[in-house]
């Protein structure tokens, strides 16, 4: 009932396009590896082994998958309404900052669980407010969300550095290794052998389900889609595009902020300069590659997480830079966009 059913022809077309795209990516990456004189298949093997070779490695992949999925879910709202929320990176950072703020207050408190909950709410709030600010700049100030977001990413990074080297510096020293580590009772509980936190996993899965339901069954979801597809017509249908843009930004920022909370309390247990690990930017690629589909996005996020974790092996075993995963991800997205562009051209031609 949602949209017109795609006919079998377009489904085949989609599969063929995807296959061609993967081949192109594979060929190009192999070419790059040849160029630097590395054995390509060994590289692929070590990436695979590095990501899924043991339960410990798999747990690292999941650790990367959680924030990536959360950010991707948030971005689905903004992409749905046609906004390029590139500020998601900064929104993760501000979520992390507010989480750290609350956790620092709770270091000597008797109920750590309560403080953790409070810290997560603060993280969501931090991301949402940071996104809302970019949204206001867009709807009231006429600043394009890409520029607002990019600018605010730098400001967020600046705030983190100032906090780490200023008010929140470790006793005696201030260093890039971040703030003082929190006492263990303020760490997000995790399964000891696997080092995966069930709470983080549950939150990520919940985010996927909630986003899918929101976009599919609620008036908000329908309105976001309507405005994203045709703002003028949606206005004539009685919707207020500005308000929904702010709402979409709040959702995106909220999920990103939550990712920041998990990074602080579940992964690093302190605030780091690189707390966001570029998961925000990576999530933009994930969502584009998944063709803005809420069910495909988690799978793509998993693939990207594998690439990221797996390529850590490369410098050790093949003397290759781990940036190779970035190269593969970049080519993938470029190829996807090119295929999408070709699809549109083909449609126009007929």
């Amino acid at each position: 009932m949602k949209t017109a059913g795609t006919s079998s022809v377009t489904v085949w077309q989609y599969l063929i396009d995807s296959l061609v795209m993967l081949l192109v990516v594979f060929a190009f990456t192999t070419f790059v590896l040849f160029l630097v004189g590395a054995p390509p298949f060994a590289a692929y093997y070590y990436i695979f082994k590095g990501a899924l070779g043991s339960w410990i490695k798999f747990s690292h992949v999941i650790k990367a998958w959680i924030p990536l999925t959360l950010c991707s879910c948030g971005l689905l709202y903004t992409f749905r309404i046609g906004l390029w929320n590139i500020g998601v990176e900064g929104q993760v950072m501000m979520g992390a900052v507010l989480t750290t703020y609350v956790l620092r207050l709770g270091t000597h408190h008797s109920s750590p669980a309560g403080f953790l909950m409070l810290a997560f709410c603060a993280g969501i709030l931090g991301g949402a407010l940071w996104a809302l600010l970019a949204g206001y700049l867009k709807t009231r100030g006429g600043v394009h969300e890409i520029f607002a977001g990019l600018g605010m990413n730098f400001v967020a990074q600046g705030i983190i550095l100032w906090l780490i080297f200023g008010p929140w510096k470790r006793a005696g020293i201030a260093s890039m290794s971040g703030t003082e580590v929190f006492p263990t009772q303020l760490w997000l509980p995790h399964i000891p052998t696997l080092r995966i936190s069930p709470a983080g996993l549950i939150l990520a899965v919940a985010a996927i389900v909630i986003t899918a339901l929101m976009l599919r069954y609620t008036k908000i979801g329908l309105s976001l889609k309507a405005i994203g597809n045709n703002q003028n017509a949606a206005y004539l249908f009685g919707l207020k595009p500005g308000r929904y843009m702010l709402l979409a930004m709040i959702f995106a920022g909220g999920f990103a902020g939550l990712a920041g909370s998990i990074q602080v309390s579940g992964v690093y247990h302190r605030l780091l300069p690189s707390i966001s690990s570029n998961y925000g930017y990576l999530a933009l690629l994930v969502v584009m590659l998944s063709n803005y589909n809420v069910w495909i996005a988690p799978a793509v996020a998993f693939f990207f997480a594998c690439l990221n974790v797996g390529s850590i092996q490369l410098p050790m075993v093949l003397q290759l830079d781990s940036a190779l995963s970035g190269v593969i991800q970049g080519i993938l997205v470029l190829a996807t966009l090119a295929v999408q562009g070709l699809r549109i051209l083909r449609k126009d031609a007929t």
Binding site: Y217, N229, A233, A234, K240
Partner: protein
């Protein structure tokens, strides 16, 4: 140069913009191309200028067939076009713009071009300083510059597309005298216009187009009545009106002026009563679009006052006007009316008024099914709107109109529908009048307005130049008003 167009066809999808057009332009003549909007004038001229490619047909220069695909190649054959919006570079100076497209190689003497520009300007009595930035020129002066540039690159057939739009009377005189001078020197001039007065004042020969075909050819002296008949077709059949007794005032405007559209709207004062059907006539973009958008709250007037059922709406937005009982249906279906990518069901879901967080999909689906049935839309509830044909999109738009509005504002409500559908649409719309709704609609079909409306407002250059009851006028009189002759 003797130019001949033979059996030119141009199809855009299923639309036949040019359908077998023949045209001969003699050297030393000013040839007018007259017709309504959408008659195929601009398409034909763009084909001639190499801007778009013809589907079929041939172009002959001095009796030999030539082929070209770009404006640049057309210019090498001596054919050049002055577009409605001059294609120049505002940040550059007059001299720089003049030199563009004429320079070759590396060494280009600016002084030589300056001299050439000066000579040309003197011949035509154009008052242009070479060092003025183009951004500071008026539209008329930019035209003058472009004409000189085209002549300098060796244009023998000069095409002008609606050149008198947006220029002053004095500039028009200068333009016309320079065109006469060009013709006297053996060049050909093609003037595209929908303004009778321009064509009558300047042209030696006129070709009239209507719906992509040539409907007439006439030499000076022109006979206005015949030209109008060629432009607008045969007089309409006896009107079928609803004739509801007008009730209270629904919409009133007093001295309303606004910006927007091509012409804006200046100083309009009218009153529309319950049950009245008012047609807005005029060439497309003469102010009808702005008028409808003011009445629906989409454009705010900068002067005058505007009331809906006695309530001042000057500073209210579209949503407030909707709440006051105004419903607006835009002409551009996929740009403003419908949302690409959304199904018919999703459109009805958006229209749902009941409270709640969730979409009532079942309800929306049922509503879509029943409206598709009532409005004869060929499509299914899950069809996306862009997959529907134009006529079906139009019917779908009509099915979105509320049940009991006070005022319906419809922009070209029957565009793209065949005669039978048009009749059906008006039968449907007239049922609104019985419920005391007033209808204001624009249409490019004068016949339709005379047939179904009680009253007609004729727009010309952003003003209402005529406001009469349809039974007290005729198409000829209205046609004259549309062309600016009141």
């Amino acid at each position: 140069m003797h130019l001949e167009l033979r059996d030119i066809h141009k199809y855009f999808g299923r639309v036949r913009a040019n359908n077998g057009i023949n045209l001969t332009v003699e050297p030393g003549r000013i040839h007018g191309i007259l017709g309504e909007n959408g008659a195929g004038k601009s398409t034909l001229m763009k084909i001639l200028a190499g801007y778009i490619q013809k589907t079929r047909g041939s172009i002959l220069i001095d009796n030999s067939v030539i082929d070209y695909n770009t404006p640049d190649q057309a210019a090498r054959h001596g054919i050049g076009m002055l577009y409605q919006d001059p294609l120049d570079y505002p940040v550059l100076t007059v001299l720089d713009n003049f030199m563009l497209g004429q320079m070759s190689g590396v060494r280009n003497k600016k002084s030589a071009f300056r001299e050439r520009l000066k000579t040309l300007a003197e011949t035509f009595r154009f008052n242009l300083h070479p060092d003025t930035p183009v951004a500071m020129l008026t539209i008329g002066e930019r035209q003058q510059l472009e004409i000189m540039r085209l002549l300098s690159i060796g244009i023998k057939v000069l095409i002008l597309d609606e050149p008198t739009t947006g220029i002053s009377t004095m500039q028009k005189e200068t333009l016309f005298s320079s065109l006469r001078k060009l013709a006297s020197e053996g060049e050909s001039v093609i003037l595209v216009s929908h303004k009778l007065e321009d064509v009558e004042a300047l042209c030696d020969t006129v070709t009239v187009l209507r719906q992509g075909q040539v409907t007439g050819l006439m030499d000076t002296p022109f006979e206005t009545t015949s030209l109008l008949r060629m432009m607008f077709g045969t007089p309409p059949e006896p009107p079928g009106k609803i004739g509801v007794e007008p009730g209270n005032i629904v919409l009133s405007m007093a001295n309303v002026s606004a910006l927007g559209g091509r012409t804006g709207l200046s100083d309009v004062s009218i009153e529309v009563r319950q049950g009245e059907v008012v047609g807005l006539a005029g060439l497309e973009g003469s102010g009808q679009d702005v008028f409808l958008r003011i009445a629906s709250g989409l454009i705010k007037p900068f002067r005058g006052s505007f009331e809906i059922q006695g309530q001042v709406m000057n500073h209210k937005d579209y949503h407030a006007c909707s709440d006051a009982g105004v419903a607006f249906m835009p002409a551009s279906r996929l740009e403003e009316g419908l949302i690409r990518g959304l199904s018919i069901t999703e459109h009805f879901a958006l229209k749902q008024k009941q409270q709640g967080f969730l979409v009532n999909w079942k309800n929306a689906f049922r509503k879509a099914e029943s409206r598709i049935d009532t409005f004869n839309v060929i499509g299914r509830p899950e069809s996306t709107v862009e997959s529907l044909s134009g006529g079906n999109q139009q019917r779908l738009l009509l099915s979105f109109l509320p049940q009991n509005p006070a005022l319906l504002l419809l922009e070209n409500p029957t565009r793209g529908l065949d005669m039978e559908s048009v009749r059906w649409v008006w039968d449907h719309l007239h049922t609104y009048c019985e419920k005391k709704t007033s209808i204001i609609f624009s249409s490019s079909e004068l016949d339709e307005i005379v047939m179904v409306a009680d009253r007609v407002l004729v727009f010309f250059e952003g003003r209402v130049v005529k406001d009469v009851r349809t039974d007290e006028t005729c198409t000829m009189e209205l046609g004259r008003a549309i062309a600016g002759r009141v």
